[in-house]
Symmetry: C2
């Protein structure tokens, strides 16, 4: 199995980073190929903007980003950093989005990875295709960490809130793109947890990944 | 009334841009003060990262972004671009987030505005405070445009999907911060609409804004 981990935490030594390291270790040990896109260390450009289309636009006076994405894709002029990510996505069997939940969503750098990488002409064509999308057949998994227990998803929050927070990612992005979306792995407030609880999260995550790796895609 | 419009579309002449222009015109004409943060033209830095905290960290070996946000806020060392946005937010009575819905969410540049501007020490303190947040008493409005009718929110989608897409923004961000969240204004697939339909959207939006401006906050 070929696994792509898209990692979006500014601190390598965070618990989020520890989950990424554990995933790499356990999957490699089991004989799988693992590629990590570490967006902060890559210095990933987050904003989808005119700089992604340095050539002549379809309409020089009007930037239509999805039309330009389609044009540069057809002309093999996709920006090199975006192309590299698209090649990783195209090759993977399982894509893991690994990030801390900030304001009920992905950090901007990861949203920008989606905005730029999942470009029209590559990830979708006429409309957004759900189960007929070009990336269908791949699996995707969200692995995230939440903030303090006093925050939204802790003792004052509910699991419903977490489901709602993940809907745009799991359904609006991954499902739309044709991925089979696996149940998310969520470590709640690891910064407040005991060392034992953190180790349990890591063990549980490793077991989840190995089980998924042994499961044939639908 | 003091209105802050945070505008996040790469193309000024988009319909999204037209909604922003109409809002500025109609509100100014009615005697309100309007400030626009045009994130693409500002060259807004989207990623919340170590560069936001150039001084010594609390723990030099470990970047805890929310702890650092709180530290620089207390030390009056918040980055100038972030501080400028915080001052605009602090002064406003109504904040409008004006953006195209990309992948069921905000463009990365706007998520990055939230990640960086709504910093601990400024926008929240111990936990996230809902109706006890320091920004309570302000109103907020999401004004967004969707893609083609063949997309998620068009003929194959449902209004439920739109509600779900906006939940993390309206509840997870704005509600959490203490804003009174007004019903969103959504222009569906303006790129596919007739000129008459687009003009109707603009008129309807102007009427909405004037009505809100005449309404006392709760």
């Amino acid at each position: 199995m070929n696994v792509l981990i898209v990692f979006a935490h500014p601190e390598l030594c965070s618990f989020n980073g520890a989950l990424k390291v554990r995933a790499v270790d356990v999957l490699k040990q089991a004989g799988h190929e693992v590629v990590v896109s570490d967006l902060y260390r890559l210095g990933w450009k987050a904003a989808l903007d005119a700089d992604d289309f340095p050539g002549a636009w379809t309409d020089p006076d009007f930037l239509d980003v999805s039309a330009e994405q389609e044009r540069v894709s057809a002309a093999h002029e996709t920006p090199p950093d975006v192309l590299a990510e698209q090649e990783k996505v195209a090759r993977c069997d399982l894509m893991i989005l690994q990030f801390p939940l900030w304001w009920s969503g992905m950090p901007a750098i990861l949203k920008g990875w989606v905005d730029r990488t999942m470009a029209r002409g590559f990830a979708y064509a006429e409309g957004r295709a759900y189960d007929s999308g070009p990336l269908r057949g791949r699996r995707a998994l969200v692995c995230t960490t939440t903030g303090t227990p006093s925050g939204l998803y802790g003792s004052h929050g509910t699991d419903d809130d977490l489901d709602r927070a993940l809907w745009p990612i799991q359904h609006g992005i991954l499902g739309c793109l044709g991925f089979e979306v696996l149940p998310p792995f969520v470590a709640r407030a690891p910064g407040e947890a005991s060392a034992k609880q953190r180790e349990e999260y890591l063990t549980e995550y490793a077991e989840r990944l190995l089980a998924e790796a042994d499961t044939e895609p639908r």
